[in-house]
Symmetry: C2
Subunit: 583 residues, 2 copies
């Protein structure tokens, strides 16, 4: 070893020891005849001292060290006069006897500090330097810790970690696949998995009983702000279980992670029907760190002159506590917010519940104070509160009010990163209607089983059929989801038929799975948790980018290695493909 | 849960309990008024009993169960009259009260037994059934166990598990890449990693100190018998270490795995120079479970009339102990063996050391008994032994004799699967000469550092330069290898130059790494172990195929899912690529 200790090891207990340390020069400063150098590694920072009186040559050499130089020192652990109680090594320093420069460093293009002056693009180009910064490094360490604890928990629960193939088969269903031309089978392609779904089901047919994998998945989608073309799932499947068992085991996993990694003890997760989540929060991933539940008001406004309300499919509101003093300007900002094209509402009605008990609204001319009072009562508002009401087609209006609810929570500081409010959303619909293609889509995926009680409605009223499907949500973020699967050939064929597959298409794409179901397939179900997302919740980040060591940008590019890139013609020839002329 | 216990849980301690079990019908047999069913799951086998006297209807139902039916039973644990001491559950059986068929099964296309009647092709097509067989399932469970223990050890050694990207950049160097067309960047391609080499080095530049990953890697090669297009590496890199440290840590890992998973305590691994390995075993991955070292004989035969020997660059032999009684037919079989085209020798000379102390050889007319005795003495042969000699160009002859040595070991039963003989092969040459392309190749890879003592010969005699590179070998199988890396830009440029890269090519392909080396890159090194290969050693298998849940065949096809496959034209259009006409 080039060192006897790391930069995070030495404390007052080591006084007098001769030690060898390696690390990076974080910074250095001169003070009289002394030079002090903060030397950094992954484990901490240790202060080095060089004294002209003791060794003028060595001190002169120390003065030439630049930021991020890699050095090795031999020295003695001594007590610091000026102690830093904030770090474990803050009571000692190293009186250096020998100094070796292992590698020099050019001045980095941005500051390697917690707060950096480097912009996003520069940081991504020099990601290897960005990763030296504490906040970024800590995310990666956190990710490691979580991965180890996940495996520890699942191993103890008798799950087997089994690798499924990365080079699989493309299926037109669902999101777009990344594909890989096969040189050995010209004209044919592999696809990269969007998830190991069919393989994990086959593993259940094989009798592996409980499977997990922390696995890369791939989706060739146009990247929104917080998507990555490759992402990591905690993928799990279990045999001979019911929904309740899966919820308990994975609630246990999340509790274990919060306890072991963050020291946070979570209570039991509430469970909410999909229908309730939509009705009360306008979202299938409600943020329940705060209340502001939706209150439906159609009954109270159906006879009024205000056509916006009386003719609306849905009139619904939230109560912002203690916000009566919002100024006109603040309220206008809220109206502007809901009118943004991404949200698309035409407006917003507000009712102020003044502290004197009177009510004042933007629709005073249509409603008596008595009517407003009835609304306030239904909304559980009290003097000092501000009520915000929206109206329109039910589904659309709920989504809009959901956005407003989140915005109000943000404005009111209710989205604390130190509060964790998990819940299960259950009883998702099996199908949704795809207007554009005039067909049903599987809400979860085509392998999800309908609730036994609803099977009879598959033909008569398919959209009312609920699935044994569930999502786990923390702080308004969907962390994962799963379902009980279909495990017999007949039901699976029926499902493909409902989804508009011809029998030939179903056979070509999923024949192997349907065949497998005829050889003794057990009842099974599973879940997949988004690992990047989970780490970002633990890290208190809104984005997943900084919990990934080498992320891609919104154009799917790795700007550090400059990928994707053009291929040699020789490579294309071997693959027997050619590029189309790009317009 | 659909069960209270698994099929491996119940023992004599559970007598009298009412239990629920789920599993597969392994087999059933009728005996008088009783039906006995062996029910199987991943955890074991439990015997079920159905008695006509107790419940004729239930027994009738049991008689209709076919092999591989999935069933659920409720019953009482009772003591068996006919105990099976070979299995943990062998002292009890379940007197069944209720029987539910969870899923029927068609007759499987081959026997789900330890010894099956299914051929390779059929087993691969129905891999989900093949995986039900004990020997195959046990390999997958073993693989899981090894993965968990690897992580436990490396985590305790302060390694961080960090995911590196799968969609990276193609580089013409080395083996052929699998590539992925980028829809968002038309005409450009990602590549799948052959290893995370450059990323793990960047992680060291980032200061992560110790990294590991159990990670899929990809190589688009024509598949030999035991290669897979996707395979799994235990990939590791460390900072501020020397070769000796890496050898110790990973020797520790392998010892830990053998101890914790197999209960085998390994002694310290011998270390052997590459030059010695080639000289004594004709291989850089010697199988040292047995001796039969090479003995070079040029000195003793250089003046003889036998031109095959006297004019040969190398005359070399091995001693097969106690094989003097080999018949003419057996010796001829050895001669045929070395003459096989894969080995390509023209022949073989043998000397029998008869038990009476006399010597008899296939070249008696050229050598006196005294000369043969001198050879026998040099070869440490004793009466009763058979000496096998080969001659020719040194490198080629060593390889041929190495094959013969392994064949002899096989014939003599010296390749015991229960003996584990690991060793480190060290001091590999940095470069090798590529006759075909008239250039140097990096023996390990272009990032390997030359030994400091040999750097001065880089220009004058590059092929004599040794590297700080090492392989770990068990029972003649290379389990992994690594090296101390170059960590400064100048040396890396020099290396690319030696390998025939123009400065422009080096920059285009590895500019980001060389840039990184200018910002404070620490000394570092690493290793990658072949996980599939390691599991196969633990499983006592010669092939890696059965330690992979869903392997591909020699044409790179997954015959179960029928992949690769043709794409929709729409998909090709989106990717802006087209297929060339296949002749």
């Amino acid at each position: 070893m080039l060192r006897t200790h790391t930069c995070g090891d030495l404390t007052i207990a080591d006084l007098g020891k001769e030690v060898q340390l390696c690390g990076w020069v974080q910074k250095s400063r001169d003070l009289g005849g002394m030079t002090f150098v903060d030397m950094r590694d992954r484990f901490g920072i240790t202060q080095l001292t060089f004294n002209s009186e003791d060794d003028p040559q060595l001190r002169a050499k120390a003065r030439e060290l630049g930021r991020e130089f890699v050095i090795r020192v031999v020295g003695t652990v001594i007590e610091r006069t000026n102690k830093n109680v904030k770090i474990p090594t803050g009571e000692i320093e190293i009186k250096v006897l020998q100094l070796e420069v292992l590698n020099e460093a050019k001045l980095p293009p941005f500051l390697i500090e917690d707060e950096t002056d480097g912009g996003e693009e520069l940081r991504m180009k020099y990601r290897y330097l960005d990763l030296r910064r504490n906040p970024v490094r800590q995310n990666i360490v956190l990710r490691h810790r979580l991965a180890q604890e996940i495996r520890k928990y699942l191993d103890a629960e008798n799950f087997l970690e089994i690798e499924t193939p990365v080079l699989i088969k493309s299926t037109p269903e669902g999101a777009r696949d990344f594909v890989v031309p096969s040189r050995m089978n010209p004209g044919e392609f592999y696809a990269l998995p969007q998830s190991p779904q069919t393989f994990k089901q086959l593993l259940m047919v094989s009798g592996f009983d409980r499977y997990f994998q922390i696995v890369k998945c791939f989706r060739d989608e146009d990247l929104r702000a917080d998507r990555q073309p490759e992402f990591t799932q905690i993928d799990c499947e279990l045999t001979f279980v019911e929904q309740e068992d899966i919820l308990n085991i994975f609630e246990g996993l999340i509790k274990h992670l919060f306890k072991s990694v963050k020291g946070v003890v979570l209570g039991d997760f509430p469970r909410m029907d999909y229908a309730d989540a939509m009705r009360l929060y306008g979202s299938d991933k409600p943020d329940i760190r705060f209340d502001m539940k939706f209150v439906e008001l159609n009954d109270l406004v159906k006879d009024s002159e205000f056509k916006v309300f009386s003719s609306a499919e849905l009139v619904v509101g939230i109560t912002a506590e203690n916000c009566v003093s919002y100024t006109r300007k603040q309220v206008d900002a809220l109206i502007d917010f809901v009118r943004k094209p991404q949200i698309g509402a035409s407006g917003l009605v507000y009712i102020r519940y003044l502290v004197d008990g009177s009510l004042k609204s933007s629709v005073d001319k249509f409603y008596t104070e008595g009517q407003l009072k009835a609304i306030a009562d239904k909304m559980n508002a009290k003097p000092g509160d501000l009520m915000l009401l929206m109206a329109g087609p039910a589904e659309k209006t709920r989504k809009q009010l959901s956005e407003l609810r989140l915005e109000m929570a943000r404005l009111l500081g209710l989205k604390s990163k130190d509060t964790y409010s998990p819940l299960w959303v259950v009883d998702f619909p099996l199908l949704e209607w795809d207007e554009e293609n005039n067909r049903h889509h599987a809400m979860h995926h085509p392998f999800t089983a309908p609730k036994p009680a609803d099977v009879s409605k598959l033909d008569s009223d398919p959209l009312s059929v609920r699935a044994n499907a569930y999502d786990v949500v923390i702080n308004g973020v969907e962390i994962g989801g799963g379902s009980i699967r279909i495990h017999d050939r007949e039901s699976q064929s029926k499902m493909f038929e409902l989804l508009g597959f011809s029998p030939e298409e179903a056979k070509a794409q999923f024949g192997f799975l349907m065949d497998a179901f005829t050889y003794g397939a057990p009842p099974h179900g599973g879940i997949a948790l988004g690992f990047d997302r989970l780490v970002s919740i633990f890290a208190g980040l809104d984005s997943i980018r900084d919990v990934i060591a080498f992320p891609k940008n919104n154009a799917g590019r790795d700007v550090m290695i400059d990928s994707p890139s053009a291929l040699d013609h020789r490579q294309l020839d071997e693959l027997q493909i050619s590029l189309k002329e790009v317009d």
